[in-house]
Amino acid sequence: MAKYTYNQEAVDNLKLSDTSILDRLIDFESAREAHLKKEHAKKDKRMTIGEAVSAFVQDGDILTDGGFSYVRTPHQAFFEIIRQGKKNLQMIGAPNTNQTFFICYGDVEYSHNSYTGAEMRGIDKVYDRALKAGKVKILSEWSHGGVAQGFKAAQLGTPGFFSKQMLGSDLVRYNPYLKVIQNPLKADKDPVVFVPALYPDVAFIHCHAADKYGNAYIYGPAVNDLAVAAATRKLIITAEEIVPENDIRYNKQGQIIPFFYADAVVEMPFGAVPGNMPGYYYWSRQWWEKCMRFGGASDENIMAFCNEWIMGTKNQFEFVEKLGGAKWIAEARRQTKAAEGDNEDIDFSYEEYTLTHDSGLYY
């Protein structure tokens, strides 16, 4: 007997022969059980990223992250997952342009989709090809707001929300988790979408600072981070620096993830490279342009690009060296501070990467 009765039209449209693959994302009982079994004692959870990935990412897991597209995304932790060659992962794409790297290496085979691309730098041609070639299968289509509500429902401790988003659209016809029902208190016809609480298996959240127990501080947009941290079965905090607990208690005003959500704490300066870390470093525009434009052109190109940058580096320090080392750090810090209004105004012009012009610079 199946545990859930999914939206059958979406199951049919997505050609899902076995719906059990959908279950864990909404399986509250097993998520609660996982939360109960976690280490609740305030213990030192520090380890290396290699140890954290090895211990907490299992083949078949539903993976997600914090941040937004290429702002505070845990790219370097993702690259370690790829280096370790995890398999058969599902990935939640909101807000995430980064599934493609995993798909290239056959790590992510299933996608929960809400946005794939790089905004002003265009659509993701690698993802487009992978989808058509059957290298990745879409399990559900969402809006950003729909996914945000699913995570928020989990954080607020409820089976789900009644939403007014996604109604009438084809998202509902391609998302087995969504059902349109009547608002139970309205006398007139009033359709609402039931959005279930979402429980990923493992989440990586990159923070500005954390203590050794996992109290973690975020500066800048905390997009879905607090909700994801509360929902996920396993949480790995990567942090630009490890600070004393008192620093969090007394000095860090802002968004804080409580320690008891965290399974592992990894000191990981430059953990969001080549993306943007608010207050610390700007994103590498040329890196992303090369990724989308050169990598987008063919499967051979994207593999060459990923082999160079992901497999060709052992950690974030080697990655930063390739970007330009100390010079890159200085420029990236200056740029992000200027972008946030914490520095002199600077000229943001730069040598854009195009297929006919590669300056070799990444800042």
Binding site: E119, E141, H144, G145, N224, A339, G341
Partner: protein, 262 residues
């Protein structure tokens, strides 16, 4: 630095026309791309007191360089507060947002938007595009939507290949019956025309045309039958030299969003 003497290109024209939709003192929800240029242009010209809201949570930033992502520092530069994403969309639902601007890859005769795919087969589309992002959320919740994009018969088909975001669905009362909030799209803006929706049928209608464009030309760029308004069709106000200069020197000096794709 841009050539200040070159005539306005279609994207600059578009940014100007969109900016004219923005009233001062309103709260404006902005998506990626040309809407960002328009919002900042409005703020630097006729609407200095607007509050701009972005989907990743930034609101009321002090303008800096052109945002390259709705999550980038320029969308929350010295913001008094930054919302979580679920709250950011809830502001549209709860009635705090006056107008929203979104792009599209396709828009149909009822203002339904597609940003998912070109082609009819979900598993083997001709091109897979971005998916919804916040597009559906804004369209579902915002009081007044303005849709913005380039216009060809393929981009203005009778039916979109995938309904990412509901506009007026199948016309008439169908948007309301589907349970959606707000009035749906009020206008579609392309470089060649401004379109509204006939109040009863909710079919797309020509509101004004760019100087040099006739109803027949607008129709030839559209994949369905456009409605013609009563009387003479007004001309869309052309971008002023001042506005063009402000775009090129202050809003998007490097042409990030206002350079025509090659």
């Amino acid at each position: 630095m841009q050539d200040l003497n070159a005539p306005a290109n279609p994207l600059e024209t578009l940014a100007y026309i969109i900016a004219q939709q923005i009233n001062d003192h309103s709260i404006v929800y902005i998506g990626t791309g040309i809407p960002m240029v328009a919002g900042i242009l409005a703020k630097k010209t006729h609407a200095p007191n607007i509050t701009i809201v972005y989907e990743s949570g930034g609101q009321d930033p002090i303008e800096g360089d052109m945002p390259w992502s709705v999550g980038c520092p320029f969308t929350w530069r010295k913001s008094p507060t930054i919302m979580e994403m679920s709250y950011s969309f809830a502001q549209c639902y709860n009635g705090y947002v006056d107008i929203g601007f979104l792009g599209f890859a396709q828009v149909d005769m009822y203002g339904n938007v597609n940003t998912h795919m070109i082609g009819k087969d979900f598993h083997h589309p001709k091109v897979r595009m971005t998916g919804s992002g916040g597009n559906n959320d804004l369209s579902s919740l915002t009081e007044k939507m303005v849709l913005v994009g380039l216009q060809t018969p393929d981009k203005f088909p009778e039916k979109v290949d995938f309904i990412t975001s509901v506009g007026h669905l199948t016309g008439g009362n169908s948007r309301k019956e589907a349970g959606l909030i707000g009035n749906g799209p009020a206008a579609v803006i392309s470089p060649w025309g401004v379109y509204d929706f006939e109040p009863v049928s909710k079919r797309m209608r020509v509101k004004s045309v760019t100087p040099g464009v006739t109803f027949e030309i607008a129709q030839s760029l559209t994949g369905f039958e456009l409605l013609k308004p009563e009387g003479e069709i007004p001309q869309t106000k052309l971008i002023t030299d001042d506005a063009l200069k402000i775009i090129r020197t202050q809003v998007d000096p490097r042409g990030v969003f206002t350079t025509m794709p090659t």
